[in-house]
Assembly symmetry: C2
Homo-oligomer: 342 residues x 2
């Protein structure tokens, strides 16, 4: 462990190539004004000396760190890993590295992380904040100073954003349950001021409205997206009177909790309870029976977010903010059926 930082400098390269430091620098920075034989001499010296240009020093010159920040609530969610992977791939292809930070959905953390990414001079940031977008939070985003792309958020409206059509797919899911005969359908999701939660509630209400049925608010649970909320709400509502005959886990992190609650009560899917999840996962696909889901392409969300950000980083700071709504669909599998006659 005795290796020291450092190694050959641009001065060493220039000396070895028999050129000035300015000439060596022009070759390293890929300027076109160097004669081929000189360029070759410098490149060969770089090779011989194993010289590596210092990225930090380079970033001072060109005002770019080639770093992009990504703040997510919880990397430990399979569906978000797919999103991170796709974001990473597009940025990597363009020569950018991804600084990833976990906010746990805590406002103070989000503010601290945005500030830290600003101090690191990351060239841009991709995030889906859990904080309410009030004046203070909007100022934090503003002060970051570089382009911002929102993921599954529609505010603040001056930022580029990528979202999925949660309303349409949850309306289709709810309609299907209603057509099967369900009336006591429990939707568990996040706070309605967050885009994906608000949209899921909207889709749910639309389905009841179209069917000419009233919504019983006791079955609409919107306290938060955290994983344990899925278990907590399912557990309490399945144990009460007028238990639901169907549960929609309206968050990518909530299906496991719902399934645990169903298992604890010894209920069978779909005979005793129909279950619908949000987002594709190995769990939904390979469960017995497979779980019906609201599905959208998390990788496409990541790719789109990265492309929107790269467009801004590469200089387009003036065209109006772009809000991209990606499609989502309802995928029916064996986890839903008619309600048990009670």
């Amino acid at each position: 462990m005795n290796r020291k930082r450092g190694g050959p400098t641009i001065k060493d390269v220039a000396q070895a190539a028999g050129v000035s430091i300015g000439t060596a620098s022009r070759v390293i920075n890929k300027k076109a004004t160097v004669r081929p034989e000189i360029r070759n001499a410098v490149l060969s010296a770089i090779d011989r000396l194993n010289y590596r240009p210092n990225a930090v020093a380079q970033s001072m010159r060109r005002q770019s760190t080639q770093l992009v920040g990504c703040i997510i609530r919880e990397i430990n969610i399979p569906a978000l890993a797919a999103f991170v992977r796709a974001t990473h791939d597009v940025l990597d292809q363009a020569g950018y590295s991804l600084v990833i930070s976990n906010s746990e959905g805590i406002r103070e953390r989000e503010i601290e992380l945005i500030d830290r990414l600003g101090r690191l001079q990351t060239d841009g940031v991709i995030l889906g904040p859990y904080s309410p977008i009030d004046a203070q939070f909007e100022k934090v985003l503003h002060d970051f100073g570089g382009p911002i792309v929102l993921v599954d958020r529609d505010k603040p409206d001056w930022a580029d954003a990528v979202m999925a059509d949660h309303a349409g797919s949850i309306e289709a899911a709810t309609t299907r349950l209603i057509n099967l005969g369900h009336r006591r359908i429990c939707l568990i999701t996040g706070r309605p001021d967050l885009f994906p939660a608000g949209e899921r509630v909207r889709g749910y209400r639309n389905a009841f409205a179209r069917a000419g049925l009233p919504v019983d608010e006791a079955y609409v649970r919107t306290t938060g997206f955290l994983a344990n909320e899925g278990f907590r709400h399912s557990s309490s509502i399945l144990g009460g009177k007028d238990a639901p005959t169907a549960i929609i886990a309206g968050g990518i992190d909530m299906l496991a909790g719902v399934l645990r609650a169903v298992r604890v009560r010894g209920l069978s899917i779909p005979q005793d309870i129909s279950v619908i999840g949000s987002g594709e996962s190995e769990l939904a696909e390979l469960h017995s029976p497979p779980i019906s889901i609201q599905r959208w392409d998390q990788a496409e969300v990541g790719r789109t977010a990265a492309h929107l950000l790269l467009r801004r980083i590469s200089g387009d700071r003036t065209s109006p903010p772009e809000h991209v709504l990606l499609p989502a669909e309802f995928v029916e599998r064996g986890s839903i059926g008619p309600p048990r006659q009670s």
Copy 2:
């Protein structure tokens, strides 16, 4: 989107506080040699102007970027997300940000990424390379120039490393299958020159040796850790004659593929085939029946790796390399039973 980078400089702060730039700098860099009333004047000017010290410029001075690199094969694996999360949390607590890169297990990518992290002057790197550790790759690691911590790798031996006891837990799993009456037990894992694969094969062989049984090499499949290998080997071996009565998915990314192959053939677990996975997951826990696994604490791997790295970053470059072996256990669930009488 018209916000520009920049804002107040240290000169502006010094002017507003009525002090020299040197004094302002001493306050910002937390030197103890500034009188309280002067310090307060500077801090109040920083506050008033909303001055943010430039992290890039700071890192030039103190030779630290507060960045740590992490190269993994595939972030899109649930068990690795838990590892990344834990690594992130320890580093975050210490003020470091995590640059994460996906290598896809491709040698050229690994080399390019290590080089890139070196040019970014990250303070250290955590990785579990898939490349054979030959002289060329060892030189790449050396040339990185900062401390390196290996995850689930034991080479090169001059680096700190964190590993899990795959041999012991797979030996326990295999022994349990043998005791249930299984003889045709298929182990699917990575190339044996990678630590976790080599160790799993060793544990498997130990179990047969202790039982006084020969190993039939046709059931030991060690072509790679990629997710599709689980499906490919299960599919082909379940379709052949002398199909196995039990399959061990010897990689954290392989259980889903094995379960898909089992489903395609219409087999029941454990009546037709016993299945054991590697690593805890929602899929293993909530499958019907739940899947027996070889289990270790992925979060503890991440925490340990981060602590080892921070120790080196904070100055300890001389104490001998530390190799930490974390425990792993065999967790029996409903997915195994006696083999069907044929």
